[in-house]
Amino acid sequence: MFGLNSRKDPFLKRPFCYFRKKRNTIDILYRVVGKVTTLMTGLRAGDTAEVMGPLGNCYPVEGVEGRKPIVLAGGVGIASVYPLLGALVGKAHLFYGGRTARDLLLTGELESLSSGLTLATEDGSAGFRGTAVDAVRAHLKGRDKRDFILYACGPNGMLKAASALGVDGYIASEEKMACGIGVCLGCAVRTPAGYKRACKDGPVFPIGEVLFD
């Protein structure tokens, strides 16, 4: 959770992934969409901000076994799967989608971190024309889904479509958060066992555990 000291507006912290962690620094990869991310662009060396973390769980990589990992990232979801690509030691095929080519970042670096990289853009300006989920579906066509394990991070619509692919794996919820530590119950994710908290019980959930409308 990232917030700005000494301001009452914006009031809440915002959730971000640790994109890269070094000894004394943390890199955050972020897309400028609103109030806090706009203010982040104005920060300069010496300014202070409040960071609380790490919070929540991580993608489990032990379950991979003999399966081929597919990593699916939509938009800024790439920040979340970047460390995962490292943990999967270059074995994953990455499907990375955005609206246009301009939304796709770091593609060179990502290629070197994965066994294969498929880009997808809605307007066809780079790679596959369509969503990244469409690209995965095309990739899986005719193959045995049980040979794969899926990791997905992106907007809700994408996670819903990814969950319906029929492949086992995990999704990382991007539910809105207020506290990030489990006390507000704001980040509700619907599961067969009732609502769970994306921040504390997640953000990573096994596919099938999250019920979409």
Binding site: P10, K13, K35, E50, C179, V183, L185, G186, A188, Y195
Partner: protein
């Protein structure tokens, strides 16, 4: 400050300092215990509980607004049984008074909840008749003075040991309801609960809260809350617990000057889990700087102009 100058009383209940957590913003203490020693709190007010577990409302449940936030959690909670079996014993590890916040869909549910919790030994019971986020019961008591008075009196008869606190809605005249609470046997009133509010995403045209209307909290509501605490405290002799937008010692002192005996820190915990401790420290520093010996000297001490 651990000294006695910070002690306050809510009826028969003695608190080591006047700073509580606001219900629903501190869970049942499990998460905050990872951040600080819960025994430093004046009291721990628990997330609202009902007789049966409640699912709560669909997401999105929260959205940010200017200097505040709207929530519609819908009182998701584990229900009385799990509370008594798991949650209460957990928080009992700390030397901190426990205030159970309860919500029923009818008077009988309130009475049963209160009776069982009283028996289980909680130090106080806070009657939530002001949650804007559930359909039945709750706030309907908070808005109708007759059923309100009857409810408070009925619960009072069942509660033998715990202090009885009634949490008022900002959506009805607080002086009238505070007075009725006192006359019906409450040991204290607390206010404000969240204020019904709506925010709409102009791009999707959808409400930013799935349930459309939620409750506003945070610094934005503070001036309204301070006014209501002022009005309520002038209407009653019993102590008033003030809340609504408190995020620092200065905010807490403002509520106390307006008439609050104790205060609760709510949404500010979401920004900073340590906020309640910061408030305690800053109250202490304020007193020290001004040679105020007892925090109760601040209560209602607003000067005339």
């Amino acid at each position: 400050m651990t000294d006695r100058g910070l002690q306050v009383r809510l009826g028969k209940l003695k608190l080591k300092n006047p700073v509580l957590t606001a219900s629903g913003t501190a869970g049942y203490g499990e998460e905050l215990a990872e951040f600080f020693d819960l025994s430093k709190l004046g009291a721990m007010v628990m997330k609202g509980i009902s007789l049966q577990p409640w699912q709560g409302n669909p997401a999105p449940r929260i959205t940010e607004t200017p200097c505040g936030m709207i929530n519609s959690i819908g009182l998701q909670n584990v229900g009385l049984d799990v509370f008594l079996r798991e949650k209460l014993p957990f928080v009992r590890q700390w030397d901190v008074p426990v205030i159970a916040n309860i919500l029923g869909t009818d008077a009988n549910e309130y009475i049963r909840l209160a009776a069982e919790l009283d028996e289980a030994g909680v130090e106080a019971i806070e009657l939530n008749v002001s949650c804007p986020n559930i359909k039945k019961g709750g706030i309907s008591f908070g808005r109708d003075i007759n059923s309100f008075s009857r409810l408070v009196a009925a619960v009072r008869r069942k509660v033998k040991n715990a202090a009885l606190i009634v949490k008022l809605t900002p959506d009805a005249p607080v002086d009238v309801f505070a007075r009725a609470a006192g006359e019906s046997g409450a040991d204290a009133v607390s206010l404000i609960n969240t204020i019904p509010a709506l925010a709409i995403d102009i791009n999707t045209r959808r409400p930013l809260i799935k349930n459309v209307i939620g409750g506003l909290s945070g610094p934005a509501v503070k001036p309204i809350a301070v006014r209501m605490v002022y009005q309520a405290s002038r209407a009653v002799k019993i102590p008033v617990i003030g809340m609504g937008g408190i995020s620092c010692g200065a905010d807490a002192i403002e509520f106390m000057l307006a008439g609050a005996t104790a205060v609760a820190v709510g949404s500010a915990i979401f920004r900073d889990p340590m906020a309640p401790l910061k408030v305690i420290e800053e109250i202490g520093a304020y007193m020290k700087g001004r040679g105020i010996k007892s925090v109760s000297g601040i209560t209602g001490a607003m000067a005339g102009r």
